[in-house]
């Protein structure tokens, strides 16, 4: 049976190495500062106390006044899980958080998906492009202010003709 790290105790354990990183803790969750994400994650992966080899999931939630990026971590050696969260984008200005792709490659596609659908910029991502929708799609659909179908319709004048699109995507050959 996997055990989950208690949030407060995980926060204490992280504080020993990185005293400034923790914002809050409660239940199974730990909230950390966006700037300290790479340091904390590297610690969680490499330190013998944590050994989180597997990044289960990266996602984000839109809480209107801010966004919350959620990391679910799994440790195979300790058979343990932890939830690390980070609040970004207060006041809905440009939401930005450092990427963890150089720590876990598994974040690659997931961070692209979060950028595509939630509009959170992952600083340092090697291939920071949309994944599900096409480049030029207006807005990010999973945001709560992305309200209607009309918003996703591109006006006729801004539409690109298919051949121009093909020219941009590739050479259209194949």
């Amino acid at each position: 049976m996997s055990k989950a790290w208690d949030g407060a105790k995980l926060a204490d354990a992280i504080r020993e190495s990185l005293p400034d990183a923790i914002v809050d803790a409660g239940g199974t969750d730990v909230w950390i500062k966006p700037d300290s994400v790479p340091d904390v994650m590297r610690l969680l992966r490499d330190d013998a106390e944590f050994r989180f080899e597997l990044l289960s999931s990266v996602t984000a939630v839109d809480y209107i006044s801010y966004f919350e990026v959620v990391y679910h971590l799994t440790s195979l050696t300790r058979n343990a899980t932890a939830v690390v969260k980070s609040k970004v984008g207060f006041g809905r200005e440009e939401a930005c958080i450092p990427s963890v792709v150089d720590i876990w490659r598994g974040a690659d596609l997931q961070e692209r998906e979060v950028w595509d659908l939630m509009g959170i910029i992952f600083d340092g991502h090697p291939n920071h492009k949309r994944i599900m929708l096409w480049e030029g799609f207006p807005g990010h659909p999973l945001r709560k202010d992305f309200a209607t179908y009309e918003q996703s319709i591109v006006p006729e004048s801004e539409r690109r003709v298919p051949s121009a699109l093909a020219g941009e995507i590739g050479d259209g050959q194949g």
Binding site: S2, E53, W104
Partner: protein
């Protein structure tokens, strides 16, 4: 005097309308002769915005959306979603319902692996014969689902706290008949395919991934077990009543296409064992909690929950956030199909064109789940 022949790499778009991309996947591949030197996967041709749609539906209505994510593993999707909802709402499930959904999801795992194996052989270029053999077996399992819930592919069988309907009387003998027939059929498959020199020489040592590489890339499921990492959530973190059944985790050490294929064939046998045990352990009773405890319009308390199961393709997780209303505030799917493709480029670069779709098929993805 030597003449230099000028050669140049050739870039080809494979997909989205290609017969072997398991749906509408697209890869922009650069070849040097037949050898792959670069791969760029392009997703999104089947994106339906399931996560956004879930925010507009009640908790029970979202079940229909999960069916349509991985449409060859609907029961498993239902199960993962229900675990998340139950955790979020603090629902105590009804025992008979849990046993029934374990049976359903193990049947679905067999069906899903049958599809994976069949299409892998199809990608190897067999003329449909093994595929149709595996599909024949899957068909029987789909018939069982039809008896359980009236649907074959998009089941929507599970409800918070159990299932919506008890299995009919005639389900049990029918299931036993299927389970009796399956092991010899899987042996047939073994005879036809596993011992086949062509399949062996085509898949051995192709697209090898090490455990470290895969853990780094969050790859889970049969792919990970094919490299010898004994990580199966049913065993390491038993959800439902998996702690009450015994089963083995087939492990291979090679981590190549053959190992991935082999692990899937063995897992089907283990699933049959699990179903047999479930059948012994199941007891009469209600299949879901009383309506007063778990109403159709569920209003879980404010909070979030992440629940994951061992899907036939890897760890399938649902992350639900509730704001106390009748529909989820946020529903995120940790889709194994998408995440297992993280290392696609590493798997394919250096291999030949012919092995490309075999490696791709050995990941066992489902575009409905990749793009959601």
């Amino acid at each position: 005097m030597t003449t230099q022949v000028r050669t140049e790499p050739i870039t080809v778009n494979l997909g989205p309308q290609h017969p072997s991309t398991h749906g509408v996947f697209r890869m922009r591949v650069t070849f040097d002769g037949e050898e792959i030197i670069d791969v760029e996967p392009i997703f999104g041709y089947l994106h339906r915005g399931s996560e956004k749609l879930a925010e507009e539906r009640t908790y029970v209505q979202v079940v229909t959306l999960t069916d349509r994510m991985d449409y060859v593993g609907s029961m498993l999707n239902n199960q993962a979603y229900m675990l998340a909802v139950e955790k979020l709402a603090g629902v105590e499930p009804a025992p008979r319902g849990v046993w029934l959904r374990m049976i359903a999801s193990e049947l679905q795992r067999i069906a899903s692996h049958l599809v994976a194996v069949g299409f892998l052989i199809q990608d190897l270029g067999a003329w449909g014969t093994p595929l149709i053999y595996t599909m024949r077996e899957r068909e029987k399992i789909l018939d069982l689902f039809e008896m359980l819930c009236g649907a074959r592919i998009t089941n929507s069988y599970l409800r918070p706290g159990g299932v919506f309907m008890d299995a009919p009387e005639e389900f049990w003998p029918a299931m036993n008949e299927v389970l009796d027939e399956l092991p010899p059929r899987i042996d047939d498959l073994d005879d036809l395919l596993t011992d086949n020199d062509i399949i062996f020489s085509r898949t051995k040592g192709v697209s090898v991934l090490t455990p470290e590489q895969m853990l780094d890339a969050s790859i889970t499921g049969p792919m990970l077990r094919a490299a010898g990492v004994d990580w199966d959530l049913r065993h390491r973190d038993p959800y439902d009543y998996y702690d009450q059944v015994t089963f083995e985790r087939p492990l291979h050490t090679a981590g190549d296409n053959f190992a991935r294929y082999w692990v899937r064939v063995q897992e089907m046998r283990e699933s049959i064992k699990i179903i047999r045990q479930c059948e012994k352990l199941i007891e009469p009773g209600s299949v879901r909690p009383e309506h007063d405890d778990v109403p159709w319009l569920l209003r879980p308390p404010v909070g979030d929950a992440y629940a994951a199961i061992e899907h036939s393709k890897g760890e399938l997780g649902f992350y639900l956030v509730s704001d106390g209303s009748i529909s989820p505030y946020r529903c995120h799917v940790r889709a194994p199909s998408l995440i297992n493709l993280t290392l696609l480029r590493d798997m394919l670069v250096g291999e030949l064109l012919a092995d490309m779709f075999v490696s791709f098929g050995s990941v066992d993805i489902n575009m409905g789940e990749v793009d959601r």
